[in-house]
Amino acid sequence: MPELTNEPTTATNTVGIAFIVDYLLTKRPDLDSIDPDLDLIESRVLDSLGFVNFLYALEEHTGREISLDQVSPEDFRTVNRIAARFLHDVAND
């Protein structure tokens, strides 16, 4: 069984991070890039109103329904955290 990892430097996560960053950049065309450790909530890249679309994009990308009962806004605070929480084992499914 492949090893699951939360390290953001694995190949899977590089793809995942690129997906998240690309998505968020289409939301915020005023930004040139998004640091994977940028606080997305503080900087208003993510807010509760744009959140649902992002959630659906993540679900579509991973092919899995995400239940919000088990997650908190903290899980969405940075690109790295999102990747670690939702994308780390996509390639192993």
Partner: protein, 303 residues
């Protein structure tokens, strides 16, 4: 800040508000019923019937909806009906949480007696909506996540009661139509009808509370902050309407590419008509009370 929700310098508003509250309490006592024995819950409901008025479906009049058979649309109506009650369950959770946080605090001394009625009634609504979902399908998971609001602490109560009012007004658009729609199973009609009856009182209260709280904010906030509140509430309306457009519903109804369906619906001009139908009453209230400067709601964002 005045000691309770309604007090102003003259006490005049206070008197009017108190009269409304007394009337609502009397009505609530008069209309009291036992939800646990009121409803007839058949073992199952016919799966190939309309579960929601077809004109209220998110796919109504959309280009994609026109490509589906009536059988497929009826399947969508079944899961969309269940999603509607699920949104009620989650919305009521927020409502109860916020009301319980305020009942019998100094600022809400005056409406607290009425809050007891609302809290009791909403507990019962949550029970019958959840029961419907669990009997005949499932409770769809909550898709809303609470991030920080517009960052105007003085407007906290106003925003809470505005959100609750908008939620109740949207739900009531569906309840009013579905409560008397003979195409729907009697149990579906009954759930909607009973809820509409109670909500007409809650909405009357909500309108009074929101108007009073905003009148007070107009004395203390600047134009920029008031405009920010308007912007926030309009976005809230938009995301509330769009929460009916659910990929999980389309998937359960057997439609392929459910995320693509959601994007197509949100991008369809018919979705603007849907938005107007669902929001008409709450937007005109907000405009009449000068809480909104116009009736324009931000467009849906498909991506």
């Amino acid at each position: 800040m005045p000691p309770d929700l309604a007090a102003d310098a003259t006490g005049a508003t206070d008197e009017r508000f108190k009269t409304v509250l007394d009337r609502l309490i009397t009505m609530s006592q008069r209309d009291y019923y036992d939800p646990y024995t009121l409803f007839d819950w058949p073992e199952s409901l016919p799966e190939d019937a309309w579960w929601m008025s077809p004109e209220l479906l998110t796919l109504h009049n959309t280009e994609y909806g026109k490509t589906l058979t009536e059988k497929q649309l009826r399947a969508v109506s079944r899961w969309e009906s269940l999603n509607f009650y699920s949104l009620n369950v989650h919305g009521i959770r927020e409502l109860l949480t916020e009301m319980i946080a305020r009942i019998h605090t100094d600022e809400f001394a005056l409406p607290s007696e009425y809050f007891h009625h609302v809290i009791g009634e909403e507990n019962e609504h949550m029970w019958f909506f959840a029961k419907f979902c669990l009997n005949y399908g499932r409770i769809y998971p909550n898709r809303a996540m609470a991030f920080a609001g517009p960052g105007i602490p003085e407007a906290d109560h106003f925003l809470v009661f505005s959100r609750l009012l908008i939620f109740e007004e949207i739900v009531d658009v569906f309840n009013q139509k579905m409560g008397v729609d003979d195409r729907l199973h009697p149990t579906i009609q009954q759930v909607n009808q009973v809820h509409h009856q109670d909500e007409s009182r809650h909405i009357a209260f909500g309108r009074q509370a929101v108007a009073l709280l905003h009148a007070r904010l107009r004395d203390t906030l600047g134009q920029g902050e008031l405009a920010e509140l308007e912007r926030y509430l309009k976005q809230y309306m938009r995301s509330s309407v769009d929460s009916m457009v659910s990929p999980a519903v389309y998937r359960d109804a057997g439609l392929p590419e459910p995320y693509q369906v959601r994007r197509a619906v949100l991008a369809d001009p018919a979705h603007e008509d849907y938005t107007r139908t669902v929001l008409r009453r709450s937007v005109s209230f907000m405009v009449n009370e000068k809480i909104f400067s116009d009736d324009r709601i931000p467009p849906a964002c498909p991506n």
